[in-house]
């Protein structure tokens, strides 16, 4: 009677069963760090009197948040990360030409069903889309994980998000997770795992499921997980080199609670400033003036996200009062979008195309907002000051809503364009 989260933790802790609330020490299958947290993690490991990582095949560093370097301080940090990767003989290292960590990790076969993975980035929960238990940790925990191959975990209770019915035209998985955030609240799943179930989820692509799991942290979740299926196995084919055994929740698994979502009647959703759970149907905020649109990030920077934007913007021009920044999540996404004519369609409409990176999302790279400006972003956080000035305003939406809004310079219902 265990959930997938309990089963994965039990297996990695060498236990028959893992009971919610108990603390287990578990073996880590893979650990990754973006530059901004990697150096601190290695400093922590060295301070623990550990000189080498537990397994250079199971640890990686990615330079994604700021890429390429924008000043001497972050250039020096990048340099330190490159030196650490060499010194530690890490099998993989992803430099500034690689893209967003949460896109690179699955594309390069580091994620597989049933695994336990930690990342020194809060959106590590993204990879639960592959039926894995993956969670974000801080740098000292990461120092322990990469130094010893183990970490302690409090076994979480699980909240089930049950979504049924086919989504309407131009309603996306982002709308599903924003609706769940509204229902749960920003701390509604603290120390819990989220499990996404139902026909709406089964019908979703892998990319759409990644969007769901990505935002589990925005309701306090420790992990967000989808059950693996044929789509999962197909995506991983040719990428994952090791054998793996998928794990599924038992039919009689116990859940803390269930949140229901009516997929068929769901409207596009928008998270309003300055909280991710301040969610309204798009019709309530339509007409709000915007200055910048960002299409990208680990939440919505995948091929299908760029495709829906291009479907809306092709042959059109964005509003003169708006700038659109588009950042494909990885070179693989960028090249596929280019081949499909998506990049040309977006550029012809007036969008700026940036190199794969975390880009505008976290306010430390480019696309910074000035005081009083309003952004509509497909990323995952709209905290005050997140994308620049503390006097700016960030709304969050799906790529469809973002693209439709770019046409008119005001928040626009994508079903109407």
């Amino acid at each position: 009677m265990s959930t997938i989260a309990q089963k994965i933790l039990a297996k990695h802790a060498g236990l028959e069963e893992a009971i919610p609330g108990e603390i287990v020490k578990a073996d880590i299958d893979f650990a990754f760090m973006p530059a901004l947290t990697a150096a601190l993690a290695f400093h922590a490991m060295y301070d623990m009197d550990i000189k080498k990582v537990f397994d250079p095949k199971k640890v990686t560093i990615l330079l994604d948040h700021i890429a390429p370097a924008t000043n001497i301080t972050n250039a020096t940090l990048h340099k330190e990360c490159r030196e650490i990767a060499k010194e530690q003989n890490l099998e993989t290292f992803y430099d500034i030409n690689s893209g967003v960590c949460h896109q690179i990790i699955p594309e390069n076969g580091h994620v597989y069903p049933g695994m336990l993975m930690v990342g020194a980035d809060s959106h590590t929960c993204t990879h639960g889309a592959f039926g894995a238990f993956t969670t974000g940790i801080g740098s000292t925990d990461m120092g322990a994980a990469i130094g010893t191959g183990k970490l302690w975990f409090k076994v979480p209770e699980t909240i089930k998000i049950q979504a049924e019915g086919s989504l309407s035209r131009r309603v996306m998985s982002k709308d599903v997770i924003l609706n769940a955030a509204k229902q749960l609240g920003a701390d509604g799943a603290t120390y819990c795992a989220l499990e996404f179930r139902g026909s709406t989820i089964s019908e979703m692509s892998i990319g759409a499921r990644m969007t769901l799991c990505n935002m589990a942290i925005e309701v306090g979740g420790k992990a967000g997980i989808c059950m693996p299926d044929q789509k999962t196995f197909k995506f991983l084919e040719g990428r994952v080199k090791n054998e793996y055994t998928p794990v599924y929740s038992d039919k009689d698994a116990v859940y803390k609670k269930t949140v229901e979502i009516d997929g068929m009647h769901l409207e596009p959703q928008v998270a309003c400033p300055h909280a991710v759970d301040n969610v309204k149907p798009v019709t309530d905020v339509a007409g709000t003036k915007i200055n910048q649109v960002f299409i990208g990030s680990c939440t919505n920077g995948r091929l299908e996200d760029l495709q829906v934007a291009a479907d809306i913007l092709e042959g059109e021009k964005i509003s003169k009062d708006v700038r659109v920044i588009t950042t494909p999540a990885s070179p693989e996404v960028y090249k596929a979008a280019n081949k499909a004519g998506i990049i040309t369609a977006l550029m012809d409409a007036g969008a700026v195309l940036c190199n794969p990176s975390c880009s505008v999302c976290f306010g430390g790279n480019h696309g910074i907002l000035a005081p009083g400006e309003v952004s509509l972003s497909t990323s995952n956080r709209n905290f005050r000051g997140r994308q620049g000035s503390t006097e700016a305003f960030v709304y969050l939406s799906s790529p469809a809503t973002a693209a439709a809004s770019a046409l008119y310079g005001v928040i626009t219902d994508p079903r109407e364009v």
């Binding site: 601190l40 000043n71 809060s122 925990d141 701390d187 306010g363």
Partner: protein, 162 residues
């Protein structure tokens, strides 16, 4: 530990505690110079060693950046007391040896400027030398980490049983 209280509200996120532009810093002392800058740029000018941050619900939500509790610790803050914490911040703080204590209604019981004394072992907070509040007991395993002075020291001392 004893110091002055600085009270903030609910949902104090990691971008408030340490804005993203400072994540490229790796020297804890430099990081400490920007504590709370996203919500109170005057904080580092007024905080004194030993002072305590008081929060409402869901303190530390958002990013996994350990630079957030590092900033607090190196600005002089000796403890964070809140009604509830986000998971990653809670772990990160304990791992640095910075106590993050859960205390129901603390944001109603303590105001900015109060003198706050924290007795971790007794599980008590004494406000202005008179009023006593109890905090939710720290789980035994976390207590061991705090007593060691953080996870670095804990692992050094307990490498064999880790």
């Amino acid at each position: 530990m004893k110091g002055k209280a600085w009270k903030y509200g609910d949902d104090i996120n990691t971008d408030f505690i340490l804005p993203g532009i400072y994540l490229e810093l790796t020297d804890p002392k430099e990081i400490g110079k920007h504590a709370m800058e996203g919500i109170d740029p005057s904080f580092v000018g007024k905080v004194q060693p030993g002072d305590v941050i008081i929060g409402g619900r869901n303190f530390g939500l958002g990013s996994s950046r350990e630079q957030a509790p590092i900033a607090l610790k190196y600005s002089g803050v000796s403890a964070v007391i809140a009604e509830s914490f986000a998971r990653i911040f809670y772990r990160n703080a304990a791992n640095l040896g910075l106590p993050a204590l859960e205390c129901p209604n603390v944001s109603k019981e303590i105001k900015t400027g109060d003198t706050v004394e924290v007795d971790i072992e007794a599980g008590k907070i004494i406000v202005n030398g008179e009023k006593e509040l109890e905090f939710v007991p720290v789980p035994p395993f976390m207590m061991e980490i705090l007593e060691a002075g953080g996870l670095r020291e804990y692992i050094k001392q307990n490498r064999a049983k880790w």
